[in-house]
C-alpha cells in the first residue's frame, strides 16, 4: 500500500501527518461510536443480548424495516429510472422544474416530509376522512411508514443516474432504434447496461437511508409497538425507557445492516475497478 503515485511530491512527513489526521478523525467519530454500540449492547451479557434482539417487538420492528426498505427500493427503482430517462434523454417544458422537485426531499427536513403525509392522509387531513370511511388507514399504519420513506429516499437513484445519462447522450439509443430495436429492446440492451453500476450504487445509498430513516417515519408512524415501529423508532423507545442495554442491542442490529450495505457497496466498487483494470490491461 506504500505505492507512491506519480506526480505527488509532498514530503513523507506531510503525507504521514495527513494520514494520521484522517485516521484519528475516523477513529474518533466513526469507529469509537460503533465500538461503543457493540460494547454497550453486550454489557449485560450475551444471553441478554440475544434475548433483546429476539424479542417479538424487536423482530416486528426488524420485519417492518426490511419490508419498508424492499418496497421503497422497488418504488424508487421504477421512479428513479423513469425520471432520469425523461430528464436526460428528452427536452420538454417543465424539465428543470421536475429536476428541482426531485431534489425537494433533500432540501426539506424529514420531519416536514412526515407532516406533509399527516396533512394529506391524517384523520383531519385532505383525504383522511374519505379514506377512513372506506376503511383505509395510511397514517399511523404501515402504508404511511412506507410512503414517508419513499418520499425521503427518492432523490438517491435519480441523482446517481441523471448526470451519467446526460453525459452518455442519446446517440446509442438512436442508433439502436434505427437498427430496428423497439423501445423495450433499446432500454434493456443499450440503456440499462450502460447505467447498471450507477443504478446499483444508487440502490445501495437509498437502501441505507431507507433502513435508517427516523424523522419522517417518526411523525407518521404513531409509535405503535409491534405494528408501526421500525428499528430506529424501536431503539428510541427502548432508550427513553432507560432500557439502555436492549436499546444498544437493537442498535447493533441496525448497525449490522448498515455494515452489510457498506460491504455490498465496497464489493461493487472493487468489481468496477477490476473491470476497468481488465479493460486498460487489454489495451
Amino acid at each position: 500500500m506504500s505505492e507512491h503515485k506519480a506526480g505527488s511530491t509532498e514530503s513523507p512527513w506531510l503525507r504521514r501527518g495527513l494520514i494520521g489526521i484522517s485516521v484519528s478523525f475516523l477513529a474518533l467519530l466513526i469507529l469509537m461510536p460503533i465500538a461503543a454500540v457493540f460494547t454497550e449492547a453486550l454489557r449485560k451479557g450475551v444471553g441478554f443480548y440475544l434475548q433483546s434482539i429476539t424479542d417479538p417487538l424487536a423482530l416486528a420492528a426488524l420485519r417492518l424495516t426490511l419490508l419498508t426498505a424492499a418496497v421503497t427500493l422497488a418504488a424508487n427503482l421504477v421512479f428513479g429510472l423513469a425520471a432520469s430517462w425523461l430528464i436526460a434523454k428528452f427536452d420538454f417544458p417543465g424539465r428543470s422544474l421536475l429536476l428541482s422537485l426531485i431534489d425537494l426531499p433533500f432540501a426539506v427536513s424529514p420531519v416536514i416530509s412526515g407532516l406533509i403525509f399527516i396533512l394529506l392522509f391524517g384523520a383531519n387531513g385532505w383525504f383522511g376522512p374519505a379514506l377512513t370511511a372506506r376503511g383505509i388507514q395510511i397514517v399511523f399504519a404501515t402504508p404511511g411508514v412506507i410512503l414517508a420513506t419513499v418520499f425521503v429516499t427518492f432523490p438517491f437513484i435519480a441523482r446517481e443516474l441523471i448526470p451519467l445519462m446526460q453525459e452518455q447522450g442519446t446517440e446509442e439509443e438512436e442508433a439502436a432504434i434505427l437498427l430496428g430495436a423497439n423501445g423495450w429492446q433499446t432500454f434493456r440492451r443499450v440503456t440499462l447496461p450502460n447505467i447498471r453500476w450507477a443504478l446499483v450504487y444508487g440502490v445501495v445509498l437509498a437502501n441505507a437511508r431507507a433502513m435508517g430513516e427516523f424523522g419522517a417515519v417518526s411523525v407518521v408512524s404513531g409509535h405503535i409497538r409491534g405494528r408501526t415501529n421500525t428499528l430506529p423508532l424501536h431503539i428510541e423507545i427502548l432508550y427513553n425507557e432507560y432500557n439502555f442495554a436492549a436499546a444498544f442491542a437493537v442498535a447493533s442490529l441496525l448497525a449490522f445492516l448498515a455494515l452489510v450495505t457498506l460491504a455490498a457497496k465496497t464489493a461493487l466498487e472493487w468489481r468496477i475497478r477490476a473491470e476497468q483494470k481488465q479493460l486498460t490491461e487489454e489495451l
Partner: protein
C-alpha cells in the same frame, strides 16, 4: 432506393435550420451534403432518417423508394445511419455491435445463429476487423470504430445509408484512407447513400453528386465537376476552395483560384497586378506563393515546381500577378 424530399422546412425555437428544401437522390447514388456548420445539412439528414420531423406543412413530403416515411415507424424504415462519434454500444464487443440489428428483429424474421454468425463474420472481413471481433469499442482506434459503425449499419441491409460527418473526428491520413475505402465499398454494395460533410475536398472526391447548402437552403447541386467549374454563386465558389478576388476596372468582381494565376517578373499583361511575395511554401506537390497586393489584400498563387525554378523568385521580391484565364465573373 431513391430518396425524395419535397418542400421540407425545420425551425428550432426561432432558428430556421431548413427553409423549403427539395432534393432527389437516385437509386444507388452517393451524394454529399456539403456546407458550413449551421447550414442545415445534418438536420436534413436526420429528417431523412426520421430522427427529426419536419415542420408541419401539407406540401412537405419525405419519401424513400416511393413510401412516405412519416407513415412508418422508425424501426421499420431500414435506415443505415453512421454517426460522427460512432455511437457504438460501449458495453458490447465488436461482433455484438455488428450483430445488434440482426438480434433485435422480431422472432419470425430473426436469422438462425449460424447464419447470423456468418453474416457478421462476412461483414467483419469486409471491414478487415475479424481479428478484433471480441474487443470492445474503447480498445479500437477512431478509424476502426468508424468501420465497425459502418458494418453495423450495413448488417441490416439498409434501403438507404446515411452518414453524418463520418470522418470528422479522424486525423487526415485515416480520413483519406476511409474515404477511398467508402468509395470502393459503394461500388461493391451500391446502396443509395447520403454523406454529410463540411470538407469540400471529401465531398468532391467521394460523391457522385454534391449538394451545397447554406443558411438552410440548397445553393447548388451537381456533379463535382459542375459545381467546381461552374459555381452559381459567390458562396459556392469561395466555399469549394481557396479563391482570389480582383476588382476589375469596369466589369466588377473577378475571381480566380490559386492555380489559375501566374507570376511574372515584368509586366507582360496590362491587367497584371503588382504585388510583393510574402511567403513561399514549396514542400508539396505544388509551390504555394502568398503575396500582398498594392491595396493590402492577400493573393494566393500555386505554381508548378518547374515554373517556380524558372522564375527564381524569393520572398520580398516585387512581381506581377496575372490571370491565366478568369474562372468566373459575377455581377
Amino acid at each position: 432506393m431513391a430518396i425524395e424530399v419535397r418542400h421540407v422546412s425545420k425551425t428550432f425555437t426561432k432558428f430556421a435550420a431548413l427553409r423549403d428544401v427539395s432534393l432527389r437522390v437516385k437509386d444507388g447514388e452517393l451524394i454529399a451534403l456539403l456546407g458550413p456548420s449551421g447550414s442545415g445539412k445534418t438536420t436534413l439528414l436526420r429528417i431523412i432518417a426520421g430522427l427529426d420531423t419536419p415542420d408541419p406543412d401539407t406540401a412537405s413530403v419525405v419519401m424513400v423508394d416511393g413510401d412516405d416515411i412519416s407513415q412508418r415507424s422508425l424501426s421499420d424504415r431500414r435506415v443505415g445511419f453512421v454517426f460522427q462519434h460512432y455511437a457504438l454500444f460501449r458495453h458490447m464487443t465488436v461482433f455484438e455491435n455488428v450483430a445488434f440489428g440482426l438480434r433485435v428483429r422480431p422472432r419470425r424474421h430473426r436469422l438462425a445463429e449460424p447464419l447470423l454468425r456468418k453474416r457478421v463474420n462476412d461483414l467483419l472481413e469486409l471491414i478487415q476487423l475479424t481479428r478484433w471481433s471480441s474487443h470492445f469499442p474503447t480498445q479500437l482506434s477512431g478509424g476502426q470504430r468508424q468501420r465497425v459503425a459502418l458494418a453495423r449499419a450495413l448488417a441490416i441491409e439498409p434501403s438507404v445509408l446515411l452518414l453524418d460527418e463520418p470522418f470528422g473526428a479522424l486525423d487526415a491520413k485515416v480520413r483519406q484512407e476511409l474515404r477511398r475505402w467508402l468509395r470502393t465499398l459503394h461500388q461493391r454494395i451500391p446502396v443509395t447513400s447520403v454523406l454529410v460533410t463540411h470538407d469540400q475536398e471529401e465531398a468532391l472526391e467521394v460523391a457522385d453528386r454534391v449538394v451545397i447548402m447554406n443558411n438552410g437552403r440548397i445553393e447548388q447541386q451537381g456533379t463535382p465537376d459542375e459545381v467546381f467549374h461552374h459555381p452559381v454563386s459567390e458562396f459556392v465558389l469561395t466555399f469549394l476552395g481557396n479563391v482570389n478576388l480582383f476588382h476589375g476596372r469596369n466589369e466588377g468582381k473577378v475571381f480566380a483560384r490559386p492555380h489559375e494565376l501566374d507570376i511574372d517578373r515584368e509586366i507582360l499583361d496590362p491587367a497584371g497586378v503588382p504585388a510583393k511575395i510574402v511567403r513561399i511554401q514549396s514542400a508539396g506537390p505544388v509551390v504555394k506563393v502568398e503575396l500582398v497586393g498594392e491595396d493590402g489584400e492577400t493573393i494566393a498563387v500555386e505554381l508548378t515546381h518547374e515554373r517556380h525554378r524558372e522564375l527564381g523568385i524569393r520572398t520580398e521580391d516585387r512581381v506581377f500577378v496575372r490571370l491565366k484565364k478568369a474562372l468566373a465573373e459575377i455581377y
